[in-house]
């Protein structure tokens, strides 16, 4: 099992014909056949194959509205690539159309827009992930977002993170240690987001195929503290957490709109303390995320140094393989089928 996205996902891409939308749809179509529709108002009726730079693996029908995509292509999940000024509207449109899982990638949405959108959908039977997030991937099954597929491998660890590339870093460490992932959820770096740590933990709590969770938080807000309180009461499986921004100065926004220590609140120190008090294993160094997960799951890795070497070697191997292939093959490699082949190769060695 996995959460949010899986083999039942039927995806509509809002903003499919834009530059970002096209590129990432080409990547997602390379991952599987779950992309069933796209929405670009005014281009309804078109069969989209991509643009000059990025080709889709298969044709995707375009509609003028999400409602049409739901009615005619039975879409149940949407991913949003529309520009910030229109993104909150896209979220509301998707919810109105009956989409159950909405994943918003767009960065830079005005907070006031998100406050309205969030309060509109909060009582509906809808999961919103993001905005300002890399998306959600259930390796081997379905990838909805912008994360590089090749660093993931199917498995039994869940990942919940406010960050993009730092998530890739953590996933890279896990995969190098042959610890696969059930689902990785990028919850987003904005102050107002649909799925918070607590919500993501609740989803994983119902998933029998997730054995442990990597949680990557950062300065700003109190979502990590809320999650700590919930985990302490309700979640019995191992959790490894890292909080970014231990060295961040107060009052400064560190890239993400939500990453700010304001009025002395939202420091990494406070968060780490709350997480530790909830029985969560907190790592100080971002380099220790993978190895610590291995330890708490009882997976044998000889020494930290050996593990570190392994990470490097595997990453290099993957990179070499990837580099040598043509672009076309590169896309294929992202497919689950090839992932399995990779695994076999590892086993031989």
């Amino acid at each position: 099992m996995s959460v949010l996205v899986d083999r039942k996902t039927r995806l509509v891409v809002q903003g499919i014909t834009g530059k970002e939308g096209t590129f990432h749809t080409s990547q997602m179509t390379a991952y599987g056949r779950y992309v069933v529709a796209g929405v670009t108002p005014g281009k309804g009726g078109l069969k989209y194959k991509g643009n000059e730079k990025d080709k889709l693996k298969y044709e995707v029908p375009i509609y003028n509205s999400v409602a049409d995509a739901v009615k005619l292509s039975r879409a149940n999940t949407s991913v949003i690539f529309v520009p910030p000024a229109f993104a909150a509207d896209a979220i509301i449109e998707a919810a109105e159309a009956g989409i159950k899982t909405i994943i918003c990638i767009t960065e830079g949405i005005p907070t006031s827009d998100m406050v309205r959108a969030y309060n509109y959908i909060k009582d509906k039977d809808v999961h919103l992930v993001g905005p300002n997030c890399p998306g959600v991937i259930s390796p081997g099954k379905c990838k909805v977002g912008i994360m590089p597929a090749f660093i993931h491998r199917p498995g039994r660890v869940g990942v919940i993170s406010r960050s993009g590339t730092l998530t890739y870093e953590a996933v890279g460490q896990l995969s190098a240690l042959k610890i696969g992932q059930s689902t990785c959820i990028g919850i987003g770096g904005d102050p107002v987001i649909g799925t918070r740590f607590v919500d993501a933990f609740k989803l994983f709590a119902d998933d029998r195929d997730t054995d442990g969770i990597v949680m990557i938080g950062e300065i700003g807000g109190t979502a990590e503290e809320e999650a700590a309180a919930w985990v302490k009461k309700n979640y019995k499986k191992p959790v490894v957490a890292f909080i970014a921004g231990q060295t961040a100065p107060p009052g400064r926004r560190m890239g993400h709109a939500g990453a700010i220590i304001s009025g002395g609140k939202g420091t990494a120190e406070e968060k780490m303390k709350a997480l530790k008090a909830a029985g969560i294993t907190v790592v100080k160094s971002p380099a220790d995320i993978g190895i610590t997960m291995a330890e708490v799951l009882g997976i044998k890795v000889k020494t930290k140094k050996a593990a570190a070497k392994k990470i490097e070697k595997n990453a290099d191997k993957k990179a070499v393989k990837k580099g040598k292939k043509t672009l076309k093959k590169e896309k294929k490699k992202d497919k689950p089928k090839h992932k399995k082949k990779d695994k076999k190769k590892h086993k031989k060695k």
């Binding site: 907070t111 309060n119 960050s163 730092l166 961040a248 890239g255 709109a257 990453a315 990179a319």
Partner: protein
């Protein structure tokens, strides 16, 4: 984006929020003229207020802009009923440096002062509007503890901060404002005036897509008016596109020059006071890189996120920024290639190194998409650098290179 008090008051006035009247000026002569004009309207007491973005002005100290040990004035907010004294205050403030607990030792140069009416104050309160991240709603906060730091009140007497949450689809309702007024102990005309004030304040907040309003203090005058004596406004950077008039209020002199430079290239840069410059893709990884530098025993000189679309130009501009900080003793580039391909970053590094003289040790760690090709490019470039294999290794190399 932060704006000055006089700009914030102008915005509030436009939305019908009663404010302490005043005239912003840039010279002492203008200050005198402003005060005289106000005298013509029956105002006989004034407050000269230094206009800088930092808080704590009243308790700050004004130093001579050249002789930095010479104290010119205690306090950046001065009350007077004497026109000569007023001119003297303006003279001592303008062009000189105000140091408060928020500015750091460097302080801020005062370019404008606000000549404001002196009010007959009965009592001071606090009113603020801010996003509550737990509820994902805006919250109006009010307290009888006006004029002091609200963070302190929140920490010591949280029960003294009253809150009303706003449902965004119906807005802040007058009954909620009344509830606040009652809880603050306001009665009669003052209560009515407070309700008008608070509703207008919320309208201004929504109308400007602000991220923070602080009226500290809000005062009740002897003649029962409810007036904003001070005003702090933070605007949401993401909403400035639809408010060009507000975007024009940006005062680049109040920002770190390196950060202004960075914003031109769409780079996310925050200057810190350490000695290891770092260039990273992604905000989370950039923070984590700072953290691991610290854990290894050095200190980061900056936060720099080159973003998802990093290209040779971005890298070159990043280098220039980092190197213009004289404290930098080493540079760490940490890229996890996902959508960004490592070989492109490597090409960028090589190209940038040709155009910019890199005078400090360079440590590069590239992982993810096309990392091997990237390492090859770097090895064959002839640029002196150390290539790290992983995060921990990178931090270690940085620390070693500084110690040498």
């Amino acid at each position: 984006m932060n704006i000055h008090e006089y700009q914030a008051k102008e915005i509030l006035k436009n939305y019908g929020v009663p404010i302490q009247e005043g005239i912003p000026v840039s010279t002492a002569t203008e200050a005198s003229e402003a005060a005289k004009a106000m005298k013509g309207r029956g105002i006989n007491a004034w407050v000269v207020k230094a206009q800088i973005h930092a808080g704590g002005r009243g308790k700050g100290t004004i130093y001579h802009h050249k002789e930095r040990n010479e104290v010119l004035l205690h306090g950046g907010v001065k009350f007077t009923t004497d026109l000569d004294k007023l001119k003297e205050y303006a003279e001592k403030m303008l062009g000189n440096v105000l140091v408060t607990h928020q500015t750091g030792d460097a302080g801020k140069t005062i370019k404008k002062v606000l000549v404001a009416e002196g009010l007959d104050i009965e009592k001071e309160y606090y009113v603020g509007v801010v996003l509550d991240r737990v509820h994902s709603q805006y919250v109006i906060m009010a307290s009888t503890e006006g004029g002091v730091e609200i963070e302190k009140v929140a920490a010591e007497h949280p029960e003294k901060i009253l809150k009303e949450y706003v449902n965004p689809s119906i807005g802040f309702r007058p009954y909620q404002a009344t509830r606040l007024a009652l809880a603050l102990g306001l009665e009669g005309d003052i209560q009515k005036n407070f309700v008008k004030f608070a509703v207008a304040l919320y309208n201004a907040f929504v109308g400007t897509d602000a991220s923070l309003f602080e009226i500290n203090p809000l005062v009740i005058t002897k003649d029962k008016r409810v007036v904003a004596l001070d005003a702090k406004i933070n605007l949401d950077d993401n909403a400035l596109d639809r408010h060009p008039a507000l975007a024009a209020l940006r005062d680049k002199d109040e920002e770190d020059p390196l950060e202004v430079e960075a914003s031109k290239y769409n780079l996310n840069y925050v200057k810190l006071d350490g000695n290891v410059g770092c260039m990273v893709n992604g905000a989370g990884l950039a923070m984590a890189t700072m953290d691991i530098i610290k854990l290894a025993g050095a200190t980061p000189a900056n936060f720099l996120d080159v973003g998802g679309g990093a290209n040779p130009e971005t890298v070159e501009n990043g280098f220039k920024l980092i190197l213009s900080d004289p404290n930098v003793k080493a540079i760490l580039i940490n890229i996890f290639g996902g959508i960004v391909r490592c070989d492109r970053i490597a090409t960028g590094v090589v190209q940038a190194a040709k155009n910019v003289k890199i005078r400090v040790p360079l440590i590069v760690r590239l992982q993810g998409t096309n990392a091997i090709e990237a390492k090859e490019i770097l090895r064959h470039s002839g640029i002196p650098m150390k290539v790290a294999d992983d995060l921990a290794d990178a931090a270690q190399l940085v620390v070693e290179s500084i110690k040498k």
